[in-house]
């Protein structure tokens, strides 16, 4: 087991290296000059040249990469060219926001996904199966920005029940916080619910045909007890680990949803930075979220191996 963990930890290093190269080169290959973008309307060649020098933009790209990596190792992720705030400070500022949104989204996703998956598996090929299917799938079938706009129109403008945008932190006012995050969390959670439903369904199907369930049925237990206590419990592990993985995706993937609902999280930060060519911000945030994602992956793998004795032998 330890050998397995060790090997996987070692694999992290080249992966992270590739992540850094990938995101760095993508930024710098983008057409457009960040110094020009910063200047915008106030274009003056002398000033633009000054800015380029200040941020090493006049150096060769591999050299700029080295500057950046050196900074990362000493804890300095650079600063936003646009507002001059250090990237690390920005990340720490946005982390609770995105984390709160991600948690709520996962809870919603698990609720919808697991129940739909269970129903779909138990009532296979019946009307309930298809209904549960469609119910869970419509989340990934709608563009989340469209769904978001429709929800705002309905719940904020027409009904006035929920605020149209903005974010209130949990510790400030928990009711307002829930009100401001329930719509975006629903939009995000919906999309993941579909994936969770699929896995729940196939895990449940597998569990329902397994020996211990057959034994439980032979013993004469109530069907509901069989489903919930025996089948579901064993199917739950891979689902939870998948949930953890999706959490990692949520940390960085809520770009359009945050844009529509004006939630000041990572997603909005990254996409604005891409369009403003604020290199340091994109590189810093993606590096952090990618690292988190890879770690969560690793944890999920370890958990999976611990739970599944058959796989323990394989490295």
């Amino acid at each position: 087991m330890l050998k397995f963990i060790g090997k996987r930890l070692l694999q992290l290093i080249p992966t992270l290296f590739f992540v850094s190269v990938l995101i760095f080169s993508l930024q710098h290959l983008l057409p457009g000059d960040p110094a020009l973008v910063m200047a915008g309307e106030e274009n003056d060649p002398a000033v633009v040249e000054q800015i380029r020098k200040q941020y090493h933009l006049d150096q060769a790209i591999p050299l700029q990469y080295v500057y950046w990596v050196k900074g990362v190792f000493s804890g300095d992720l650079g600063e936003s060219m646009r507002i001059k705030e250090p990237v690390l400070a920005l990340i720490l500022e946005k982390l609770p926001v995105t984390a709160q949104l991600a948690c709520m989204a996962i809870i919603i996703a698990l609720t919808i996904g697991i129940s739909a998956g269970v129903i779909s598996a138990v009532k296979k090929n019946s009307v309930w199966d298809y209904a549960a299917n469609v119910f869970a799938l419509w989340g990934i079938s709608t563009p989340n920005f469209w769904l978001g706009i429709m929800l705002i129109f309905l719940f904020s403008v027409k009904l006035g029940w929920l605020p149209a945008s903005g974010f209130v932190p949990l510790h400030e006012d928990w009711q307002a916080s829930l009100a401001s995050t329930v719509m975006p969390a629903f939009v995000l959670g919906n999309a993941i619910a579909g994936i969770l439903m699929r896995h729940t369904r196939s895990a449940m199907l597998q569990a329902l045909e397994s020996d211990y369930v057959r034994t439980a049925r032979a013993k004469g237990l109530l069907e509901r007890r069989v489903i919930l206590k025996h089948a579901l419990r064993n199917a739950l592990t891979p689902i939870i680990t998948l949930g953890a993985l999706e959490f990692g995706t949520l940390l960085s993937g809520a770009v359009l949803t945050e844009q529509i609902f004006t939630i000041p999280g990572f997603g909005k930060l990254i996409v604005d930075a891409v369009f403003n060519r604020d290199y340091a911000v994109v590189q810093g945030v993606v590096l952090v979220t990618a690292t988190t994602f890879i770690f969560l992956n690793l944890l999920a793998d370890i958990a999976y191996h611990l739970v599944n004795p058959r796989l323990r032998g394989m490295a």
Binding site: F18, L29, I140, P143, W146, A290
Partner: protein, 294 residues
């Protein structure tokens, strides 16, 4: 009583059924997948027959008929420069379906060979490809797509390339996994012992076994690619005006949600129906091709 007892086929009948026919039979049983196939066929038909069935030219503007509500003249209403939305949705089928199918084709054509090589050869090549794949999967998909599309330049074609490239890692990983599971089978070792070259074994023996899983994933990826095209167009990086795609229509409709909601509703429904159909078919395929079912 469970299905296993009541519907066991006669032993003789099962033996003569080909794998494809068996898959088709099982697929037909899942009504959702059948409905999905039907809808997809309709959309493809609409895309192919578009010039013949649209009542108006989708790019012709009419400045006196700006933002008209749906009526007999214009079934879905008109947009912000007076174009007929029904015609644009039909024509948009081309862009959106095309985007879905082409991007996934790109992903398949890069991903399968890479996955085969990584899975079959193993060793350093495998390690290298796997780490790169992991790195790509760790970066947020939409950011990679935006960056690539911005780099290549705004157009539908470039958006398809961007989505195709960012979808590739999924197929690399899937192919690799399947290859690794299959390559230790006895018939592979037998083929090798007889002297077959590696590439022949890969294509003739391994690939067919990998196909079912790839087919399922491809269908699901087309669904995701249609949404991705809509997202990129929403951000201005996809289909260029005045040609329609469902995503760019949603982009234009955003300002008029309260004053002309029909501009957003119809393209949204079109995306929803097509993506849902691909998802249902993909799920149905997974069930149909599942080796555990009979």
């Amino acid at each position: 009583m469970t299905d296993t007892v009541l519907h066991a086929p006669l032993a003789g009948a099962a033996a003569v059924e080909s794998p494809a026919a068996r898959a088709w039979r099982r697929l037909r049983r899942r009504k959702g997948a059948v409905a999905g196939l039907f809808v997809i066929a309709l959309f493809f038909l609409a895309a192919v027959l578009a010039p013949l069935i649209v009542p108006y030219d989708p790019v012709v503007q009419s400045w006196t008929a700006v933002r008209n509500a749906p009526s007999w003249m214009h079934l879905f209403g008109t947009d912000d420069v007076g174009r007929d939305i029904f015609s644009r949705v039909i024509y948009g089928t081309r862009a959106s379906l095309f985007a879905g199918v082409i991007s996934v084709s790109i992903a398949l054509s890069i991903g399968i060979p890479l996955g085969l090589i990584a899975g079959y050869r193993g060793g350093f090549i495998d390690a290298l490809l796997s780490r790169i794949t992991d790195a790509m999967l760790a970066c947020p998909f939409i950011i990679l797509a935006i960056a690539l599309a911005a780099f290549l330049g705004p157009s539908l074609g470039n958006a398809m390339i961007a989505i195709g490239i960012t979808t590739t890692p999924v197929f690399v990983r899937l192919t690799r996994g399947q290859v690794m599971a299959v390559k230790v089978e006895e018939y592979i070792e037998a083929a090798r012992a007889v002297g077959n070259p590696r590439w022949r074994i890969a294509i003739v023996h391994i690939l067919p076994n990998v196909m079912p899983a790839l087919l399922v994933q491809a269908t699901l990826s087309i669904a995701a690619a249609i949404i991705a095209e809509a997202s990129l167009s929403f951000l201005g990086l996809g289909q260029q005006p005045p040609y329609p795609s469902w995503g760019s229509m949603l982009n234009a409709a955003q300002r008029f949600l309260t004053t002309a909601p029909w501009m957003a509703v119809w393209p949204g429904i079109a995306i929803f129906l097509s993506v849902l159909s691909f998802n249902l078919v993909g799920d149905g395929l997974r069930d149909a091709l599942d080796p555990r079912e009979r």
